[in-house]
């Protein structure tokens, strides 16, 4: 008999024997005490809404990739490397552990991108961009323009921890070298459309956020028209690719004032979009998408152009293979181009097999030198992650990602 069930108790208490009643009363009293303690134990044992999310290991290198059009992060176990191989050889030496849903909205596209790992705080930051336009017959949808968000995600399971509201069209996020500041751009092409002819009103802001004080509203600097990529130099200066101004801007890390800008050719649009700082020299590689060129800028007292190399395809995010060599992924054609900065020439141009990679976007290197390439594909079919042999750039392995993946961020033990 379960004494906590009222039917059983009531039935026993209906017994005609007084002795039975008395005995049952005592038993019931005991049961009541037992019930109380068992109930307390149950409520202690059964945590409300336990976290059932998969936890990710910390004892091996993992890659994390935001999929902008799937609202997910692909978590990749990067394995040990060394084996793998395509073309009928063994399988990739790395595997997808999970595609984790992220974002604030369960139906709309949150458009997560620009994942940043903060090792000191053991968290990720991600920009929610709401970049997909909505087509609707309903009147309210015509003016729908949503604020972006910067979300903080736990490293172990990507659960959301905190968030801060940004302006619409949030785009790229960077963490300062000392970890005290986050900077976020807004690739806002709406402002110049509605403020045509007014360059001041057309400027979008760069938002600055303190990771330890996310409850504070971001400090905002109206910088330039449609700022895209952003990066900190080792010394703390901030580089921004101002697409609408067709220039690169340098901001003082403390005052946030512009200390230099460079438009490499004022006579024609260049469209600088992607930046990559060389951690050793502080020089920055820039992809100019319209003119299909990659440049290297040095920001000493002034911003100066040191190298400019013409490519066949549209350059995406450059990658520093060494202080004198870049690998530049390009689309149209989909290729990897190795640029020798000593001679300002193309050392190698490798066309990518569309079965492996469409629309290569960015490269990531592990501490041991293993090299990975994210291929974004289109917005409707999954992207891929390739491991490349470092010298030949041959494909060693391949896994499928979500829709329109961004660059891979690595956490290595």
């Amino acid at each position: 008999m379960t004494w906590c069930q009222k039917e059983d108790l009531l039935s026993a208490l209906r017994s005609p024997s007084a002795f039975n009643r008395l005995a049952l009363v005592l038993l019931a009293a005991l049961a009541a005490v037992a019930c109380e303690s068992s109930s307390a134990a149950d409520s202690e044992a059964q945590e409300a809404f336990p976290n059932l999310r998969p936890r990710f290991p910390v004892d091996r290198p993992l890659g994390f990739i935001a999929n902008q059009d799937s609202d997910t992060v692909s978590v990749i176990d990067l394995g040990e490397g060394g084996q793998g191989g395509m073309g009928g050889q063994s399988a990739a030496a790395f595997t997808v552990l999970a595609q984790v849903p992220i974002g604030r909205d369960p139906v709309d596209f949150d458009g997560p991108r620009s994942l940043v790992f903060d090792r000191a705080r053991d968290v990720f930051y991600v920009a929610l961009t709401y970049s997909q336009s909505v087509t609707s017959v309903h009147v309210m949808s015509a003016s729908a323009r949503r604020a972006g968000y910067l979300q903080v995600l736990a490293r172990d399971d990507l659960r959301p921890l905190e968030e801060v509201r940004l302006q619409p069209a949030a785009f790229a996020v960077a963490l300062s070298p000392d970890g005290s500041e986050l900077a976020a751009t807004h690739y806002d092409t709406y402002l110049p459309t509605v403020n045509a002819g007014d360059p001041v009103k057309s400027r979008a802001v760069v938002a600055f956020v303190e990771p330890d004080a996310l409850e504070r509203a971001p400090a905002e600097v109206a910088l330039c028209i449609a700022p895209a990529d952003i990066a900190y130099q080792p010394g703390g200066a901030i580089l921004v690719a101002c697409v609408g101004d067709d220039s690169i801007a340098v901001l003082d890390g403390t005052t946030k004032e512009v200390t230099a800008t460079l438009d490499i050719d004022v006579s024609a649009p260049q469209k600088p979009v992607w930046l990559e700082v060389d951690a050793g020299s502080g020089k920055v590689a820039v992809s100019y998408e319209v003119t299909r060129r990659v440049g290297v800028l040095d920001s000493g007292d002034e911003l100066t152009l040191e190298h400019l190399v013409q490519l066949e395809g549209v350059p995406r995010r450059p990658f520093w293979l060494s202080a004198s060599r870049l690998i530049v992924p390009t689309v149209d054609p989909d290729a990897l181009v190795v640029v020798d900065l000593a001679t300002d020439s193309i050392e190698q141009a490798l066309r990518l097999d569309p079965a492996d990679c469409r629309a290569p976007g960015s490269l990531t290197e592990l501490a041991g030198g293993r090299l990975f390439l994210v291929c974004q594909n289109n917005h409707f079919e999954p992207g891929t992650l390739l491991e490349l042999e470092r010298s030949s750039l041959a494909v060693l392995g391949r896994v499928e990602l979500g829709l329109f993946p961004d660059r891979m961020v690595v956490d290595e033990p």
């Binding site: 004494w3 906590c4 009222k6 108790l9 009531l10 208490l13 007084a18 009643r21 008395l22 049952l24 009363v25 019931a28 009293a29 049961a31 009541a32 019930c35 109380e36 068992s38 109930s39 149950d42 409520s43 059964q46 945590e47 409300a48 809404f49 976290n51 059932l52 999310r53 609202d71 984790v100 849903p101 974002g103 909205d105 369960p106 139906v107 709309d108 909505v134 087509t135 609707s136 017959v137 309903h138 009147v139 309210m140 949808s141 729908a144 659960r159 959301p160």
Partner: protein
């Protein structure tokens, strides 16, 4: 006699003690929360309870087309909202935010959180697998349907909130539009043609408040109501996309 009364009194007291003990009371509190339109949202505009849109178990859903998944199974499920959420509490809070106007998340260790979870736990076992939930993103017109099945489907899918067609009798609130008259009139006033108004109906059913539409009506996924069924409902309501002909006196 006195002794017998004493025994009876003690017995009654102990029954009362035992009835109040254990998880039952927490479950009951949770059940009350799930049925309440005020307990889980501070918004005075909220008209929904959890049980407005969810059946407790799949079997309970017979005769109704609930937009939400059955609650049984929720505590063991790890995928919600077509895979866009992987946590039950986050999913509940998404519901509260989108439909109930609650901007502050429910906390797991709050009294309400613990009660709601105890209630959901009491509904198990249910289907732990993900419940399909396909939101049709691109809105296009659908084939015309049939009136008779449409009337029946309206009762199953729409009447619970909108009440009877044309009169709104039994609707959840006065601010819920009477179908189709209120919705047609408000869009005609904005200059919409009857063809576009039909698309607005389709979009509202498929997108709910999402994808830029706004409002707080839950969307009906393709699994809950397919296009054929929606075509039947629109036919029953007379939302054909055609401009009505003027009646001759």
């Amino acid at each position: 006699m006195m002794r017998a009364r004493l025994v009876t009194s003690c017995s009654a007291a102990l029954v009362a003690v035992c009835l109040g003990c254990g998880p039952t009371s927490l479950e009951e509190q949770g059940a009350a929360l799930a049925a309440s339109t005020t307990a889980l949202s501070p918004s005075t505009a909220n008209i929904y309870a959890c049980l407005t849109c969810h059946a407790e178990a799949a079997d309970d859903a017979r005769g109704h087309l609930f937009p939400g998944a059955p609650l049984a199974g929720a505590t063991t499920r790890t995928s919600f909202w077509a895979g866009q959420e992987n946590d039950l509490l986050e999913s509940i809070n998404a519901c509260r935010a989108a439909f109930m106007g609650a901007s502050t998340p429910l906390e797991a260790d709050s009294t309400e959180g613990e009660a709601l979870y105890a209630y959901l736990l009491s509904l198990e076992p249910g289907d732990p697998g993900p419940i399909p939930f396909t939101v049709q993103r691109t809105i296009v017109d659908i084939p015309r349907g049939s009136v008779e099945p449409g009337r029946s489907l309206y009762d199953e899918a729409c009447a619970g909130c909108h009440g009877a067609p044309h009169s709104g009798d039994g609707r959840l609130s006065d601010r819920v539009p009477v179908l189709p008259e209120d919705s047609v009139a408000s869009h005609l006033a904005l200059g919409y043609s009857y063809r576009l108004i039909r698309l607005v109906f389709i979009e509202k059913v498929r997108h709910g408040p999402f994808l830029g539409y706004g409002g707080d009506m839950p969307p009906l996924s393709l699994e809950v109501l397919n296009d054929e069924g929606l075509g039947d409902i629109l036919e029953a309501l007379g939302v054909t996309g055609e401009t009505p002909t003027r009646e001759t006196p």
